[in-house]
């Protein structure tokens, strides 16, 4: 290549490199820089040839990269290039500080709105989005039984034999563990001292490996520490260990569980909060872990009481996992159910856990987003109003040569600054907000303890604030920049006019529409909550106190010992001062833990003759005499269980659903039900005391006498005339007097239990209503501003009207009509939104249709009333117009 050609190439390269410099530097110095490089390149070429030249090229590249970016970042230069942001920021700050009331009001609105949004966002993020704190948690699945045609049970527990089958499956199923409730968790550090009630889970030894968590102290279970005859070992959670005094020497010691010695192997880390998902009802907290004392493969496949947890090979697609689990299910079906269609299916660990909370959370997020949108529109209209006040200033500054960019920049800065501050304050407010939410959140809300603002969320909220501010400011910025100079001068001559009126009215319409959407959802949710509050759960919760007192077989090996103990406890409780009655049962209403069985009633009139359809899956509750009365359940026919037990007869009480199913229009009393190789005789029919939901019946219920079947009831209920919770010390003392080895657990009033069930609905109802009222307030404020400005602007016109003979009421109506029109248009626009919102919230509504006309009408009327009132206040100012005086000015 010729020398001159090489120089040309070099020059091209140097020119290309110039692009790395900012444009103004390029304009001033670019040619000179290229020339200097040319000089250097020529020197290099003549001294060292091509290699030397290439090194100059490379050198020029590094030089330009370094100095180009350096020059771009230089403060003075960047100022010159992009305008005086610093000075603008200074002016905006000063302007905001001058208008204290405006700034404070705007920031307060933003803080509240963004704070509320942040709280909801935090909850949703932590519950629905953030991964569970286990290794590759996406590969963990729960497995459940779908009984198919065998039973009307779509989500049932697994049998131990199913777990064993999953463990042997191999392929994509890397590991499987069973989890089961440990019956009776009476725990003490030493024999017969300070017994306490804890929640224990029985599991396979591989649980912690499967989750990928190692204990903080000591070790987890070894592979062989399971099955019949193995030494008893226990692993504690950090919370329990703390409760026991956080003594590191606890590891390796023997503790007592139901009176038997267990060796403490280890303590889990502080953040480890595994819960055991159950086929029905909320997930269960765990305080300690022990391993199965049976060989899972040898358990009865019909006795299903395990939750199954599996880990799939890393990154396996959910469909592949499902296929593998189904294959195991088919084998189980063949082997244990003679191929009658039992299925196994996996559900993602988190999906399964949050399934119950998900619909309500999604509704809240949607409400939060609508509120954020509303805040944007509101801020935009407020900023627009402010911009309108500064029309004159804009006109002057533009006359003095400010360009569109400068005017827009000032507006954007103002909005951005407000949004940024609002976001920061909102994030700060949300720190307390989330704490408040956790305090009122349902106790079984999954991952409740994880709900707290973190830096990421705070950053997201601040960013949202900034975006919202900029978005809001872009409306007045565009307006201010687009409006022509002459128009501004002309309209600012009459002070306070301006072409922004239509835009502002449009925004009011949008606000009215958005707030109506939120209000309608809020109204529906409140109505549904009120339905829940008024729902009759089938018992009378007032004045009921409940405790759990276990009767472990280790302490009471013979059934008669247990019955005697229970008799004594029940009698002692009934004898407490202020107590009118005591009863006991294997479960309590609304806590959703009980066993099921399938019953048939041969010869019942309701039978269809189809054997499969005549077998009914029912919840079995073992109750002692007195339970039905103390609970305040309604007896529809027959009688409850009495103190004296007739010999040779096993009594049963059925609920009205079961009676109706088998004895439509006939008397169920006296009918006999085959039950555990014996026969039950129906002595009474009751209305269902609901086990799952306050507002709707669950499965049919079958009550058997606890004493007849050696069932050891857990829950004692006393009815009292005193405030129920004050009974606890006396109950504890009474139990201790009877037996020092057992503990009183889970003291709750029945009203608390009802309350806990309603908590989720209550929390989401409260939040949605808060959102809706906030939205209404925003809309009202906006409307107030518009009408107020309109009165100011139209003063002259109105004065002329008055002077020409219109009376004041007529003029008032004129102004009001403007507001009413905005509201009316807003309502019309809201209709599709209300429809969409209704579809979204359908899942969380109870007993209310999403298009409930009464609610929607009431909400709309309420909105119209409030907004018209806010119109009326500023509109009344027209009454003070003195036409003669005004026109003279």
């Amino acid at each position: 290549m010729s020398r001159s050609r090489l120089m040309t190439v070099s020059e091209r390269w140097f020119r290309l490199l110039l692009c790395l410099y900012p444009v103004d530097f390029r304009d001033d110095m670019g040619d000179a820089v290229v020339e200097a490089y040319r000089d250097r390149a020529r020197d290099a070429l003549s001294r060292g040839g091509l290699t030397r030249l290439v090194s100059v090229w490379l050198y020029a590249l590094f030089d330009s990269l370094r100095n180009g970016s350096g020059e771009r970042a230089r403060p003075a230069a960047s100022w010159r290039r992009s305008g005086n942001w610093g000075r603008d920021a200074e002016l905006v700050t000063r302007r905001l500080l001058r208008a204290r009331a405006f700034t404070a009001a705007t920031l307060a609105t933003l803080t509240l709105g963004l704070g509320m949004f942040a709280v909801v966002y935090t909850a949703v993020h932590k519950i629905l989005i953030a991964p569970m704190p286990y290794r590759d948690s996406g590969d963990l699945y729960y497995v459940w039984r779908d009984y198919g045609p065998n039973l009307d049970l779509k989500k049932g527990a697994l049998a131990g034999s199913d777990i064993a089958a999953l463990q042997q499956a191999g392929g994509v199923i890397e590991g499987a563990v069973g989890l089961q409730r440990f019956l009776g968790g009476i725990f003490s550090l030493r024999e017969d001292t300070d017994p306490m009630e804890i929640a224990v889970t029985v599991t396979s030894p591989a649980l912690f490996d499967l989750l990928g968590i190692t204990p903080a102290l000591g070790r987890g279970f070894a592979r062989n520490e399971v099955g019949p005859g193995h030494p008893l070992v226990i692993v504690l959670t950090h919370e329990l260990w703390n409760r026991l005094g956080a003594d590191p020497a606890t590891v390796g010691r023997d503790v007592r569980l139901n009176g038997r010695p267990y060796t403490v192997l280890g303590v889990m880390p502080p953040g480890f909060r595994f819960v055991r998902n159950e086929p029905i009802g909320p997930a269960q907290r765990v305080d300690a872990y022990v391993t199965f004392e049976v060989n899972l493969a040898e358990t009865n496949p019909k006795a299903a009481a395990c939750s199954g947890l599996i880990r799939a090979r890393r990154g396996t697609a959910p469909e592949a996992v499902a296929a593998a689990v189904e294959a195991v299910g088919r084998a189980v079906d063949e082997r244990d159910f003679s191929g009658r269609g039992l299925k196994l299916y996996p559900v993602g660990l988190k999906t399964d856990l949050v399934a119950r909370a998900r619909p309500a959370l999604l509704v809240l997020v949607a409400a939060g987003l609508v509120l954020a949108l509303m805040l944007t529109v509101n801020l935009a209209s407020v900023l627009l109003a402010r911009a309108a006040q500064r029309e004159h200033e804009f006109t002057v500054s533009r006359a003095l040569g400010a360009n569109d960019g400068a005017v827009m920049r000032a507006m954007l800065l103002e909005g951005g600054l407000l949004g940024l501050l609002g976001g920061a304050l909102g994030a700060l407010a949300a720190v307390w907000g989330t704490r408040a939410l956790v305090a009122v959140a349902p106790l079984d809300l999954p991952r409740r303890e994880a709900i707290a603002i973190d830096w990421g969320i705070a950053g997201a909220v601040i960013l949202l604030g900034l975006l919202l501010g900029l978005l809001a400011a872009s409306v007045p910025a565009l307006w201010a920049a687009r409006t022509s100079l002459s128009f501004l001068l002309a309209s600012s001559a009459v002070r306070g006019g301006g072409g922004h009126g239509r835009m502002r009215r449009g925004m009011i319409v949008a606000q009215v529409a958005l707030s109506l959407v939120l209000l309608s959802s809020g109204g529906l949710v409140v109505r549904s909550f009120e339905r829940l509050l008024r729902a009759d759960p089938g018992f009378k919760p007032e004045g009921l106190f409940t405790v759990r007192v276990r009767t472990p077989p280790e302490f009471f090996p013979k059934p008669n010992d247990a019955i005697g103990f229970q008799d004594r406890i029940q009698a002692a409780l009934a004898a407490l001062p202020g107590v009118t009655g005591a009863g006991a049962a294997s479960t309590l209403p609304l806590i959703a833990t009980t066993g099921q069985t399938t019953i048939t009633i041969p010869g019942a009139p309701g039978n269809t003759g189809d054997a499969e359809r005549d077998a009914l899956l029912v919840d079995v509750i073992a109750a002692r005499a007195g339970y039905v009365e103390v609970m305040g359940m309604r007896l529809l026919a027959g009688r409850a269980f009495e103190e004296s037990r007739p010999s040779g007869v096993f009594e049963a009480i059925v609920d009205s659903n079961l009676a109706r199913r088998f004895f439509p229009g006939a008397n169920a009393l006296g009918a006999r039900i085959p039950y555990e190789k014996d026969w039950l005789t129906i002595v009474g029919v009751v209305e269902q005391a609901r086990l799952y939901d306050v507002h709707q019946d669950g499965r049919p219920e079958l009550y058997v006498r606890a004493e007849d079947w050696g069932v050891r009831p857990l829950f004692y209920v006393v009815r009292t005339e005193r405030p129920p919770h004050t009974l606890l010390p006396e109950v504890q003392a009474a139990v201790r007097r009877i037996d020092t080895r057992v503990a009183v657990g889970d003291p709750r009033t029945m009203e608390q239990i009802v309350d806990d069930t309603l908590r989720q609905q209550k929390t989401s109802a409260a939040l949605i209503v808060a959102f809706a009222l906030g939205a209404l307030l925003l809309a009202a404020m906006g409307l107030f501003g518009v009408v107020s400005a309109s009165v100011t602007r139209r003063r002259h016109e109105l004065a002329v009207r008055l002077a020409l003979g219109a009376d004041h009421p007529r003029v008032l109506r004129l102004v009001l009509r403007e507001g009413a029109l905005l509201v009316g248009v807003g309502v019309l626009i809201a209709l599709p939104g209300i429809y969409a919102a209704g579809r979204l919230i359908r899942g969380v509504l109870v007993g209310v249709s999403p298009s409930d006309p009464l609610t929607l009408l009431a909400v709309t009327l309420g909105l119209a009333l409030v907004t018209l009132l806010t119109c009326y206040v500023p509109a009344r100012r027209v009454l003070t117009i003195e036409p003669a005086q005004l026109l003279r000015q």
């Binding site: 820089v33 020339e35 200097a36 020029a60 003075a76």
Partner: protein
Amino acid sequence: MGMDRARRRTDERPALRPVEFHILLSLAAGERHGYGIIQDIEARGETMVPDVGTMYRALARMLESGLIEAAARRRAPDADDERRNYYRITDGGRRAAKTEARRLEMLMRAARIEGLLPKETK
């Protein structure tokens, strides 16, 4: 406004940066074009010869702050007679260079006293 800001900055500046002092030194001897200044610096035995970009950024700033000014663009005999931008030192630049030279001299003296440099032999 921009000039005010820039000038204030020059006055407040405690010392010239090395590259700026080099430029002023070269221009004190007469008008130079950019690559000429670099060659001067190389000739002075400076170990850290500034990059082209660094020098032109310095030139731009010094033009802005009035330490130097642009001279007429003309043919450069040392660059194949191509036309080049020439720069010239201003009175302010000369003052600044003198101040810097005095400062350096003072530092030098201090370095001798502290034994960092050999004592001057006269």
